[in-house]
Symmetry: C2
Subunit: 441 residues, 2 copies
């Protein structure tokens, strides 16, 4: 089959941009042999044209003038790697209006302005491919959208933020407290100087919004997602949870119940140590998906980094150039297939198990008081842990796990517990997520 | 977007056929909402039109006359689920010649006659989609072919036969010996009445031939694959290996070295217990793939069964109907992208570690004799295990693990060991596979 030349323009020449440039230039022959497509990096746009980069471009490729890309009709595909939502949105809109297909890793932009961008793409007869936006190198979006197309997706449980997973893994394995683990992650480049978006759960929410809209077929707004980050996790709770058989992960959870109510949430989650997601450590990502026909499928791999993300970007470039993305985009697009709005389950209605830790005064009657408060809120205790010996200020940590309980009841109970004069600090409460493991049968 | 009607004909109405019929009929609305395609089961062909099935078809759909399918020009897609290689090959050729695209799960046929069939498809301007042929419901073929298209695939390690994994899992967890575990698997439907193709490794070889030809881009013949089954595995070796930190799996391994030499093999393999593949139990499948850009990616899920396989078949039907399969088939087809034949590494040249168990007479000097034979063959011992106490006939099991050694040396050493009068039965030899885990960095 004759080779077809495909000219690509990049906007944004940071880490991922360098990875994409490297893959396109160094692997051009291999990709041509595999796909009959001859990728050519025609133009790289960045406001900074001077700083040294990891990749050397041919003369004249790097420019600070985006019109070089927009005005060149021979460039079919524009890759937006600027990040953020303001400039990036304008760039994507301009690329689409200039008749170029767009490839992007920008989850924040898609989560916030996805519908507007998809609409613009449709209007201009172009497509947007965004495999790299979720879980880096793992082909999770095509996995759900085409590989599992015959399934009703019932639930997904994902570790989709490498920074948080790296921090929690180190807190677990090295018994580090949060500030220490965060600063170590920053030192090694696994966390940004301003880590808010990662550790606060916002980045995971962006990815869940994208994955859930594809999986469940509804337009998902960021407000539909309950978000709780890992900033206030203490190593003590990781340790006590560990003693009770749990491992702490920041999970992105999407569930659809039999009445089509959708629950979307990001929060620190205790999961059973023998669950497949518990052994996903460091900056790795993994997503477990439950489909009506396929049962459980799990994808595992690197969720970020220069080359893994570039791998997904270039896979999208190939898919766009082959014409498959356009078909997929037209047929299986982000535009929600359900005309009605999603029925979003409020977090107050969530029924799950809980881990509760109280710092209680070490004196008679405390357990009775705590038990009474829980009973009054109709919360049934599943397990309890109190080590002998004392903590600071004559207090002892009392750890309780509950049977499945409605969030609103636990919230009320925590308020009541907080009022007891035998409880010395605000109770800690972490949700326990019993991820079903698809077993024999 | 207006709905497009897609008429599908099935050939073969066994378990998977029933699953496909069930998915197409019961999920037609959901699939239409998702894809704008209205799938219609137009015709199901089977020689047996009388036996009761799990799925009820509308009147007139089931027929024993394949011409009903071949002659109906409104049927665009033919799904071959007959299995085997003789009749199935003729059916696929007829479908293609009748102008229909083919969807199939038939790995044996593709592994043996893939090129002939692909050629026929090209000649007739049709495509063959075969996601269901490897690892059942796991979208592994599209994962490699499109999701990882930008990568040079360097290695893959797969558990791709659910029957063997089920048997080995039970031998491990329940301390069952092979015949017992096999008969239990047969009783529960995890093994066929004639289990040869599964337990002998042949089925895994079929899948490896398909996956390796896609991953490495060469035409792979079944003869290129070294195959050793699990028939002679004893629970004792699983137990001793377990004590030394290993778990036994039947692995399908494809590796490409820096000189582009390809090693393809199916054999029982001791892998480290903390490797991600070690916890893949029962009839589940998993494949770890190492790509040049993406690093390690792992896919996990059900490798067989009515609905998981049907999930992959219907995903292929959708992909064919959208037109994407045709593009993928033309560009990223099974037809090897390398004009030269693959350089296949002979098993004799394999360098790996080995587990060797000898039944030795319990008397002085045995270890010295064994050590001498190994040293003469330049084999270096990595670990050893000999429990106190005696086995049958005054023998003791002596277990040795080696450092990386060439297969041919070990084969020679085993011959020499067998000749020692202190060694009472044929030495047992199982390869240890050190699967790299992609870690931080």
């Amino acid at each position: 089959m004759a080779e077809k030349k495909v000219k690509v323009g990049l906007v944004g020449f940071g880490t991922v941009g360098c990875g994409v440039a490297k893959l396109i230039t160094e692997e051009a022959d291999a990709i041509a042999a595999k796909t009959s497509l001859r990728l050519e990096l025609a133009c790289v746009v960045d406001i900074d044209t001077q700083s040294p980069r990891l990749v050397k471009l041919a003369d004249g490729i790097l420019t600070n003038d985006i019109n070089r890309l927009l005005d060149d009709d021979t460039i079919q595909i524009g890759v937006e790697l600027v990040g953020g939502t303001d400039a990036a949105k304008q760039i994507q809109l301009k690329l689409l209006e200039a008749g170029k297909d767009v490839v992007t890793a920008n989850k924040a932009l898609l989560a916030e302005y996805g519908n507007e961008l998809m609409h613009c793409a449709h209007k201009n007869g172009r497509c947007i491919a965004f495999e790299a936006s979720c879980a880096g190198g793992i082909p999770i979006i095509s996995g759900i959208r085409t590989g599992l197309a015959a399934n009703e997706i019932r639930a997904m449980y994902g570790i989709v933020n490498g920074t948080c997973n790296y921090i929690l893994s180190n807190m677990t394995s090295k018994n580090e407290d949060f500030p220490e683990a965060l600063s170590q992650a920053q030192k090694l480049g696994y966390a940004e100087a301003d880590p808010t978006l990662d550790i606060g759960g916002g980045d995971s929410a962006h990815k869940l919004a994208i994955l859930a809209s594809i999986a469940f077929g509804y337009e998902i707004a960021l407000d539909d997602i309950f978000v709780e980050g890992i900033e206030s996790i203490s190593k003590d709770d990781i340790c006590y949870g560990g003693e009770m058989g749990y491992c702490l992960k920041l999970l992105a959870i999407g569930q659809k119940d039999k009445d089509n109510r959708i629950s979307l949430r990001i929060h620190p989650s205790f999961i059973a140590k023998d669950n497949r997601l518990a052994s996903v450590n460091g900056s790795f990502n993994a997503v477990s998906i439950f489909g009506s026909a396929v049962g459980q499928v799990m994808y595992y791999g690197r969720g970020a980094g220069m080359m893994p993300t570039a791998s997904a970007i270039v896979a999208d470039i190939i898919d766009v150039a082959l014409g498959n993305s356009a078909t997929t985009f037209r047929h299986l697009c982000l535009k929600p297939r359900n005309q009605t709005a999603a029925l979003i389950e409020k977090i107050d209605n969530l029924v799950t198990r809980f881990y509760i830790r109280l710092m209680a005064k070490d004196r008679p009657g405390v357990f009775a008081q705590v038990g009474k408060v829980l009973a009054e809120n109709a919360i049934s205790i599943s397990g309890a842990l109190q080590h002998e010996g004392q903590g600071p200020d004559n207090t002892v940590p009392v750890v309780i796990t509950t049977h499945p309980t409605r969030q609103s009841k636990v919230t009320a109970a925590l308020e009541d517990l907080d009022k007891l004069d035998t409880i010395c600090s605000r109770p800690v409460c972490i949700r326990i997520v019993d991820i079903p493991e698809d077993k024999e049968g």
